[in-house]
């Protein structure tokens, strides 16, 4: 049948296809684009020229200092105010005398001046006769002297009661500031302040010094996802064989509960799984935490492995196995010598699926590893997410890491597209 299409419809169709491709590819474009730029300068909000430095950086081939990344100015702008404060606080807290000097010079100077000005004002307005003005004012701001009483008397006629009270309060404060008790407590406060500033300084320096441990995250992710997918595969081959070939009591109820898990989410069992680990003390050691995490990944990937392998095993004719069994093979031997070699494409597909579920997993990794801060065990998802939330979030390196972690998966997928897409539709993929 020959179909004629108008050029307009054709154009619309091509436009639609292009639009869809654009919508799909735009995030990939930015991922690659930003990964090829040096890191952004927070002050300029622009990127410099194209470079592969981000890639060399995440593989540890080069290690540029933070000065190279952010520029001296920004480093200094970040660190210098803190250093200055620390310097000042150190000088101040060296001894009680130095603190008293500080209180006198810095804190009281202004207040005393204010008091003197007020007294000066009062003298001018009320016309008190003073022989030595300077001396009179000095004495008038200390409570309990003759001069003080004179000034206070005169004040009441000039100022409101409220202002007078303010004046006396301020005078009390100045007077009591230099007692030993208040000096001691002030010194304690200043010392605590010094400590917090020093911690802040150490944090800035430490964060700067720690490079981005992308390779460690990559290795951890490979170990966790790879091991759990392997265990899941072995368990699933045995289970799927039983489901598809053997008749035994309770088969359908086991199958149903597996399907049930397949639709179940991790969110629902997060609290109890965490509590179980805490009660058993598993999370106190890195090894226990790692094994527990792998087992949780196994249970997450098991249902889909069972389901897909079971479907595949049913397509292998039983007669081949039967012939082998008649020739003297046991059932177990038949699985290893016939079923597994025949279903190799499906087994590889299932392994890749199981691997990808572990590779993408965030919830449990963050619950088990993040809480105790086993930073050495961080997987890519939590490692990168933690890095993106740090003060030094650096888009270029983050995107380079994204590209590197995506490429192997995309290559594997392109090579095995036929098997993998049929796996999707064979019953969907658990997420």
């Amino acid at each position: 049948m020959v179909k004629k299409k108008s050029p307009f419809k054709r154009g619309m169709f091509v436009f639609g296809i292009l639009l869809i491709c654009f919508f799909i590819l735009i995030p990939f474009y930015f991922m690659v684009h930003v990964s090829l730029k040096a890191d952004y300068d927070p002050n300029k909000l622009t990127f410099s020229n194209f470079t592969v430095r981000n890639y060399l950086e995440i593989f540890g081939l080069i290690q540029s200092s933070e000065t190279e990344f952010f520029g001296d100015e920004i480093i200094r702008a970040n660190l210098e105010p803190v250093l200055k404060r620390i310097e000042a606080l150190k000088e101040r807290t060296a001894s009680l005398e130095s603190y008293a000097r500080y209180v006198h010079e810095v804190q009281l100077e202004a207040k005393e001046k204010e008091l003197r000005d007020i007294v000066d004002l009062v003298i001018d307005f009320s016309g008190i006769e003073v022989q030595n003005r300077e001396e009179f004012i000095e004495r008038a701001i200390i409570p309990g002297t003759e001069e003080t009483e004179i000034v206070e008397e005169n004040m009441k006629s000039i100022f409101s009661a409220n202002d007078v009270k303010k004046f006396t309060d301020l005078r009390e404060e100045v007077d009591s500031a230099l007692t030993e008790e208040s000096l001691m407590s002030g010194l304690e406060n200043a010392k605590a302040q010094l400590k917090s500033y020093e911690a802040q300084r150490d944090k800035i320096i430490e964060e700067r010094a720690s490079e981005f441990p992308f390779l460690r995250y990559l290795r951890n992710s490979l170990v966790f996802a790879g091991t759990s997918a392997l265990i899941s595969l072995i368990v699933a081959i045995l289970g799927a064989y039983a489901f598809s070939r053997l008749r035994f009591k309770g088969r359908s109820s086991v199958q149903r509960s597996v399907l049930f898990v397949y639709l179940f989410g991790g969110t629902v069992i997060m609290v109890p799984l965490y509590q179980m680990a805490v009660k058993l003390g598993i999370l106190t050691t890195p090894l226990g935490t790692g094994i527990y995490l792998i087992m949780v990944y196994v249970i997450q990937t098991l249902p889909v492995s069972l389901y897909m392998l079971g479907n595949y095993f049913r397509t292998i004719p039983f007669s081949i196995e039967e012939a082998a069994i008649i020739d003297g093979c046991s059932r177990i031997q038949a699985i290893f010598k016939i079923v597994i070699p025949l279903s190799l494409p499906a087994i590889v597909t299932v392994y890749i699926y199981a691997f990808m579920i572990g590779w993408n997993e965030y919830l449990f990794a963050s619950a088990f590893l993040g809480l105790k801060s086993y930073k050495d065990l961080f997987t890519l998802p939590i490692g990168l997410n933690a890095f993106s939330g740090s003060a030094h979030a650096v888009w270029g390196r983050l995107m380079a890491a994204s590209v590197v972690s995506a490429i192997p998966i995309i290559i594997i997928f392109s090579l095995m597209q036929k098997y993998l897409t049929s796996g999707f539709t064979a019953g969907g993929v658990k997420e």
Binding site: F13, G16, I17, I20, C21, I24, L25, I26, P27, F28, F30, M31, V34, L45, A236, L238, G239, Y241, F243, L246, R247, F248, R251, R256, L259, F260, V261, L263, G266, T267, V268, I269, M270, V271, L273, Q275, M295, V296, I299, L302, L306, M356, E361, Y362, L363, A367, L380, P381, S388, W395, L398, M399, S402, I409, I410, F413, S414, T421, T425, G428
Partner: protein
């Protein structure tokens, strides 16, 4: 002879159980027991050191908590939007890619990219696009076109963060819908369309009278499956924005992201979530799988 057959059956029975025993043991320890334990915890005021039985108090607290209801409706909205969005987009793409044209093989590969790329690889790119200070989205719509206010923060505002999460979820998951629908479309015999064309049916008539009824069943199945998955979707939402506020994040923030974890309350919410999901799953099993 009969004894031989019955011993064969017995052997098969025991071998079957031997082979599924690892599966069953793992299921018992890491799924069934935790689900029961979760319900148990939900009746306790569960602290780090001690726990006291409080009956239904956790549930009462949850139902009286307006934050819970806000989170609940955000979750429902998120689920509805993502299910409808990904099905519509998946349907359109499947219909388009079911037609022959030059370069279809490449486009079919490209369409799958969002679904197969690891989540962690692509999520930062999305965050970058919507970043309030230097993201290309804000650059285009705020600085160049001036359509939106420069103060708009799409990622960190708890009122609209779930919208970006929905767009991301649709983008990521429509290829799944597309694949399911495409494989169904390919199995519709060409004869149907030819017969309809001879009868003079318009393309729209052919679509509504042949294609849609054929797709109806698989679309329902996909909608339920996506609904179930998206209802408790955690990582895709959380990694885009911590403030998207869906129920799984609500639970997470009460257990992991806090210094004073409320295990009892979190367990109660998880139980509520589970009951809702049980309804959806039962519907799925009854309508779609027809056991």
């Amino acid at each position: 002879m009969q004894r031989a057959a019955s011993s064969m059956l017995k052997k098969e029975n025991s071998l079957g159980w031997k082979l599924v025993s690892p599966t069953v043991i793992l299921l018992m320890i890491l799924i069934l027991y935790p689900v029961g334990y979760n319900i148990y915890i939900s009746f306790f005021d569960y602290g780090i050191t001690s726990s006291t039985f409080v009956g239904l108090e956790n549930y009462v607290r949850v139902f009286k908590d307006s934050a819970f209801w806000k989170s609940f409706f955000i979750t429902v909205g998120f689920t509805l939007m993502t299910v409808i969005g990904s099905i519509l987009l998946g349907l359109v793409v499947a219909l388009m890619l079911n037609k022959e044209f030059k370069g279809r093989a490449i486009v079919r590969t490209i369409v799958l990219l969002p679904y197969i790329t690891p989540l962690i690889s692509i999520v930062f790119s999305w965050k970058y696009i919507f970043d309030p200070s230097y993201g290309p989205f804000m650059q285009l719509f705020s600085q160049t076109l001036g359509w939106v206010s420069p103060q708009l923060d799409l990622l960190n505002n708890s009122n609209n963060a779930f919208l970006v999460a929905s767009v991301f979820n649709i983008w990521r998951n429509f290829p799944f819908v597309y694949l399911m629908l495409l494989s169904r479309l390919q199995s519709i015999p060409d004869d149907y369309y030819e017969a309809a064309e001879i009868d003079g049916a318009t393309p729209w008539k052919r679509f509504t009278n042949i294609t849609l009824p054929e797709l109806y069943f698989v679309m329902g199945a996909v909608a339920l499956m996506r609904g179930i998955w998206n209802f408790y979707k955690f990582d895709e939402v959380y990694l885009i924005s911590k403030r998207a506020g869906t129920l799984p994040i609500f639970i997470y923030e009460r257990v992991i992201g806090t210094t004073s974890p409320e295990y009892g309350v979190a367990a109660a919410i998880a139980t509520i979530l589970m009951v809702i999901m049980l309804f959806l799953i039962t519907a799925y099993v009854k309508k779609v799988l027809k056991w």
